[in-house]
Amino acid sequence: MLVLDLADEQGSFCSKLLADLGARVIKVEKPEGDPSRKTAPLPFSYRNTNKLSITLDPERREGRRIFRKLVKKADVLIETFQTGHLRKLRLSFGFLKRINPALIHVSITGFGQTGPRRHYRSCDTIASAFGGQMYVSGSPSGPPVKPFGQQSCYTVSLFGAVAIFLALRERRLTGKGRHIDLSAQEAVASTLDHVMVDYFYNKTITRRQGNVYGNKGFCILPCKDGFIQITILQNWETLLELMTSEEKAEDLLEEKWKQQSCREEHFDHIMEVVGHWTKNYTRAELFELGQAMRFPWAPIYSPEEVLNSPQLAARQFFGQTERPGKSSSNIFPGLPYKFSSFSPPPPKAAPSQGEHTRQILEELGVSSKRIEDLLKMKVI
């Protein structure tokens, strides 16, 4: 599979997912390079593993000619240009499919290519806000909080990768490619789990609940050395027994707490009392205790602690990238899946700017003389 990647952070993870599964991905950067190389170097290196890089300016006439040669050979094109931009360059799907009718062209934008907000400026925060994700997280007395990292970009990229495989299968049946128009807002809204369900069926508007989640399903309580996320109401009897055996049940042994409705109504008090109990333990102790009883308890780990997870080590989740740099890490997060009859390529660091320009142009049959000319014209 040959993928042309002209995407910014909204879509670079999408082609990474494919590159990590063995696709040949060519990142097409303008001659001055992808800006996030400088403004966000770690996210850039994370999202661009296993890719080749060519510097090419498709906004220049000579650059377009080369770009069209690339399109002719490509299976997939992923881009994140503002709606309408490619049409001005005569490089929108309508034009490209004449060069390559089998092309699968993925456009990722904040709101999609149609609709009243199609020209709205977007970024991860805006997609997260408009998509309904921010409203449901944060302290009840504080502002809405966005999840860490550019989650809307990862989400829409994952949908993109799924869409590409669907389109590939469709192409097997019909011989034709297609244009896939993805909205980051819709991607975020698709992950809201119970939020829209509760609204459509019960007219309930889910609000942020701080350290509580999922209709009091999970809550975060303090330990000796940090915090743990536990379940209380689902395993009430067992938990109460445990706390009672340690004489930490306090007033929860009173008759009224035997009623589920009472427990739900006065959940804050329950959390307070259980919090006194959890404070006597380390996170590791409660993690082990809870999981031994098959409760989905989990410590709140920092990213550093994640690196030391014995489970991730046993699964060899972290690999080493092939090209150790001076101020970049060798350790690299890997793929979350293992396949029985397929070996993904070993993780290769993100390419340097234009690292493969010459090689790829030569493959396209562009002469050395022409390459020099294009360099002088700053088309590549």
Binding site: A40, P43, T114, G115, P116, R118, Y120, R121, T125, I126, F130, G132, Q133, M134, Y135, G138, S139, P144, F148, G149, T155, L158, F159, A163, F165, L166, R169, R172, L173, Q185, S190, D193, H194, V195, M196, Y199, F200, T204, I205, T206, Q209, N211, V212, G217, I220, I228, Q229, R294, A298, P299, E305, V306, Q311, L312, S327, P336, Y337, F339, S341, F342
Partner: protein, 395 residues
């Protein structure tokens, strides 16, 4: 296109709650014949067919009831597997093994079978038998910690984001495996870890944490780096719990912003460059808040966007249900359910055209497809099926 993309692909679906069903729903939406293996015993709480939750994640699927504790039920299942393309399960690793329904066993009846096991930790010790859902992975992956930076008590992400991500990774892996099968004729066993799936969303933070010495900053530096050198903020607006977000990445956007807000304070020295705006962020936030609090989020975002400034409304569920952009793109689709009546769910961002959606149907009733599957697909006689029901094998 007459035939849907995954038409002819049969999927045996042992998954439950959200993550697994999300994956199989993607497949079902595009025409795969997804058969949910349920039983009266297990169709409780969120797994009850006639609830909004179940109906949302299980549209376009079929339901049969089989009690897999019975050896005869497993025999039936093997017959089904022999005529299926994909098996998806999300049990703790012991379960399928205890039932003798491992990949090795299943591929004896269907050599090119694609089987996906979605577990919390992957099929490996030491945490193999651990229980986890999306929220669990938020905590373990560093996501909760990172988004709670600077707060006294960590905050939960208010939705099971991780579960949808696991579902998407599973759908991706299954589709990739089917593509591989088309090319090579080979099946595949996919071992997916929910924990790892969510960890992939923390990639840059993990890279940062792994760095030694130079260039390594704290988590808040990471937040700034991820924000790409501009500034962003969430500001209270007029009304009850109404907020907007404003994100400014360059000087052009800053000037446009100042033009709309029209407060002389903003034009001062203190806020004149990117660096200065960062240094005086909290003062800047105060000035901006004073403006936003006297306008509705809708008005603010409309006027800013018109001037070319990235801004957004922090929408709640009601806003989303009425969102004109989502309505124009027909993001929410109605499906008629025999018990629940008119139901609404989102179509996901994967809009390939109207043709797929016109054939969509609501989630199945419990065991609705027993006749179709046992009688039509497997050719069991009425007497055989009755006997199975009596023995409790089916039901």
């Amino acid at each position: 296109m007459d035939k849907p993309i995954l038409g002819g692909i049969r999927v045996l679906d042992f998954t439950w709650i959200l993550a697994g069903p999300y994956a199989t729903r993607v497949l079902a939406d595009f025409g795969a014949g997804v058969i949910k293996i349920q039983s009266k015993k297990t169709a409780q709480d969120v797994e009850q067919n006639n609830t909004g939750y179940f109906n949302t994640w299980n549209r376009n699927k079929r339901s049969v009831t089989l009690n897999l504790g019975h050896p005869e039920a497993r025999e039936i299942l093997l017959k089904l597997a022999a005529i299926s393309d994909v098996v998806v399960e999300s049990f703790s690793p012991r379960v399928m093994t205890n039932w003798g329904l491992t990949y090795d066993r299943l591929r004896k009846v269907k050599p090119d079978l694609v089987m996906a096991s979605l577990s919390a930790m992957g099929q490996a010790e030491p945490w193999k038998d651990f229980v986890g859902y999306g929220a669990t992975f938020h905590a373990l992956s560093g996501l909760t910690s990172a988004m709670s930076c600077g707060l006294d008590v960590p905050i939960c992400l208010g939705h099971a984001y991780g579960d949808t991500i696991v579902g998407l990774y599973a759908a991706l892996a299954i589709l990739a495996a089917l593509e591989h099968r088309d090319k090579t004729g080979k099946g595949q066993y996919i071992d997916l870890s929910g924990y790892e799936a969510v960890c992939t969303l923390l990639g840059p933070a993990l890279l940062e944490a792994a760095m030694e010495g130079e260039g390594k900053g704290g988590l808040s530096d990471m937040l700034i780096k991820e924000g790409q050198g501009g500034f962003e903020g969430c500001y209270r607006c007029l009304g009850d719990d109404r907020w907007c977000v404003i994100a400014i990445f360059n000087e052009e956007e800053w000037r446009a912003f100042c033009g709309v807000v029209d407060q002389p304070e903003l034009e001062g020295e203190k806020f004149s460059t990117v660096v200065k705006r960062k240094e005086n962020q909290s003062e800047l936030d105060d000035v901006i808040s004073r403006w936003t609090m006297s306008h509705t989020a809708e008005r603010i975002v409309e006027s800013l966007q018109k001037a070319g400034v990235p801004a957004g409304i922090v929408q709640n569920a009601k806003d989303l249900a009425r969102d004109e952009q989502l309505a124009a793109r027909r993001f929410f689709i109605p499906l008629e359910h025999p018990v629940l009546g008119k139901t609404i769910s989102d179509r996901t961002p994967l809009a390939f055209g109207r043709q797929e959606i016109k054939d969509w149907k609501a989630g199945p009733l419990l065991g609705e497809d027993n006749d179709y599957v046992f009688s039509e697909l497997l050719g069991l006689s009425e007497a055989e099926i009755r006997s199975y029901v009596e023995k409790g094998v089916v039901g």
